[in-house]
């Protein structure tokens, strides 16, 4: 399968594929972070996660439109504004959903799965009615276009790098929030022993809402980032949901580090295989491997052994 490539070409192949893998990796991280928080910390399966993401994308789309028509001068910087907006809108909606729906279902994880699936159907159709069924094109400021020429073969697309930066900063932020902040301590307290946490005066209901909102907010940021590399349409979100769930489960639901590691592993594996196999087969193989490993090691990569 290496035939037809010179060694130097192979070098740059792996360099470029490595990078391709990295951008896939950042996509996974962006999606998985929010999911990992919600699923890992609260045991809630949010099938509408993809739709929250697309909400963020549409927010970005509207913001760019707004800047183009009213503040063309600032267009270059609209994106940062859009990210914040996307986060806020999704977080608020998330909190609302938690209050109306999720909180009634904490003891029935499988049912949250169905309910959020229903939610995703509704959100999709809402997008279709509001923005039309066709994907919307989001214009990017010029400076995000183009790529750094490294060698004649190896080029690093700027927006790819940008997405990567967003992904990593979010990962770091989440890590700090979860493991270095008082709030994070409360969250983990609630995860480990709800009643005890309540006993020591932690408002577990509030924690739940905040956690869910945070997860959705991050999905929103993911959506904003995706407008640069992906498509923004009513059903674009669903394309990612299965992969992302696998990433989270594969990483070992409880551990954010695990999520990142598995995101990295899966994305690199897939992009490398994509180069030598057809896109479809690469995808099938990746999924098969992941499922296979999960069958052998259900607890995922980084699960902690707890005294049951």
């Amino acid at each position: 399968m290496f035939d037809g490539y010179t060694s130097s070409e192979l070098m740059s192949i792996f360099a470029m594929q490595g990078f391709a893998g990295l951008s896939l990796f950042s996509v996974f991280v962006l999606m998985a972070m929010g999911l990992a928080i919600i699923f890992g910390q609260m045991g809630v399966i949010n099938m509408a996660h993809g739709e929250f993401m697309i909400l963020g994308a549409y927010t970005t789309y509207l913001t760019s439109g707004f800047f183009q028509s009213y503040l063309p001068g600032l267009f270059g910087g609209y994106f940062f504004f859009a990210i914040i907006l996307a986060f806020l809108i999704c977080a608020v909606l998330g909190a609302l959903v938690e209050w109306l729906m999720i909180r009634h279902l904490y003891h029935r994880p499988l049912d949250t799965l169905l309910a959020t699936w229903g939610l995703s159907l509704i959100m999709q159709q809402a997008y279709r009615s509001i923005f039309g069924a066709r994907e919307v094109g989001v214009d990017l400021p010029e400076w995000m276009m183009g790529a750094f020429q490294v060698t004649d073969l190896v080029e690093l697309p700027i927006n790819g790098l940008f997405v990567m930066i967003i992904a990593l900063s979010i990962a770091v932020a989440v890590y700090l929030l979860m493991y270095r902040s008082g709030w994070g301590k409360n969250v983990r307290a609630v995860v480990q022993n709800r009643s005890m946490a309540e006993a020591v005066g932690i408002n577990s209901a509030g924690i739940d809402r905040a956690t869910f909102a945070l997860g959705c907010g991050i999905a929103g940021i993911a959506g904003a980032a995706f407008t640069m590399i992906g498509s923004t349409g009513p059903s674009s979100g669903q394309a990612y949901i299965v992969d992302t769930f696998l990433v989270v489960v594969f990483g070992g639901a409880q551990s954010l580090i695990g999520t990142i590691i598995s995101a990295f592993g899966i994305s690199q594996a897939q992009s490398t295989m994509e180069f030598f196999l057809s896109g479809s087969m690469a995808k099938v193989l990746t999924l098969l491997v992941v499922v296979g490993i999960l069958m052998l090691r259900p607890e995922g990569l980084m699960a902690l052994k707890v005294r049951r």
Binding site: D111, L114, L121, Q125, S129, V249, V284, L287
Partner: protein, 399 residues
Amino acid sequence: MKSSSPLKWFGSREGLYYLALAFLLVVILPLALDPFRLNMVGKYLTYAFVAIGLVMCWGKAGILSLGQGVFFGLGGYCMAMFLKLEASTPEATAIQSTPGIPDFMDWNQLTELPWFWEPFHSFSFTLIAVIGVPVLLAFVIGFAMFTRRVGGVYFAIITQAIAAILTILIIGQQGYTGGVNGITDLQTLKGWDIRTDEARTTLYFVCVGMLFLCLFAARLVQNRKLGRILVAMNAQEMRVRFSGYDVAAFKIFVFCLAAAFAGIGGAMFTLIVGFMSPSFIGIVASIEMVIFCALGGRLSILGAVYGALLVNAAKSGFSESFPELWPFAMGALFIGVVLAFPNGLAGLYRSYVMPLEDRLFKRSKPEPKTASAPAATKPSAEKADDYDPMITTYSPEKS
């Protein structure tokens, strides 16, 4: 649960419910609907097979599979492969560069039938495969997951991933599978044209027949100790394990049972609709199948049938009158059924309609029965509506 006298059973409340369904499917609908609509009902019923399986697997044993479409599809494809081979006689496919093989293979430069198609020349093999292939896969998955105590959400997600894999695979390997278009243009079953109205009506009744076979199979399991263990497992897995049961074995069994039902449903689907395509295997299709079961009432096998009928009828109805509303309705259905009435129609029926029946028919509480073994296990009127888990009354030896 072979009741001492079947007639007596038909007299029981549960028996009446089965008769009512049979009456609806065998008499009312065929009289009320033209062949075209009846055929559509037939199509809905094929989903009921999956729903029944989900009642056993999810409702009773608490194993939620989001990949039932996989088994439905496998069953369907097995049947479709047989029909396709029958349709692609050398005469019929004379214009192809390789006559005698399915048209889509010819388009994809295949010059001979792939090995795994060969056995599907035989009808008896096909019939076995329709159940065997799904069950085999279910066993492999079940064995791998359940012996390692994977369950709940994890199981759901993995089954979902498997659905995704199979879909991509089938679409990608279109030379062997017909790709996105699926296996189409199926005409005859052993020389019998399945496209005529007569054939379609016949197939409808065959489908109803099969459905009742599955219903009774499910009912048998549910009313035996086996069924009790399944429910008990769902509530108190630990206790069941330490009562000396190999929990994994029971889970594998019920998962395979559901797969078998789904496979039969898929095969009937192929016969009734006239083709099979990957869009019934995918994640969306699989999750919709869950809602059929959830709406009917995740604990009621009869409810599952009504659930499948209603959701699909509603879907067609909506998409004919106001299409864009359907997704909203469907979404609301998912949320409502989970939040508002988790026991679905069966639950509502039980809590609102049955009391009325009680007043109408003056059904008193179960009249004590003699403790001769069969009588003791015979369902009392109390549990008869088949929804309730399994309260069997016992009455002391003294007569």
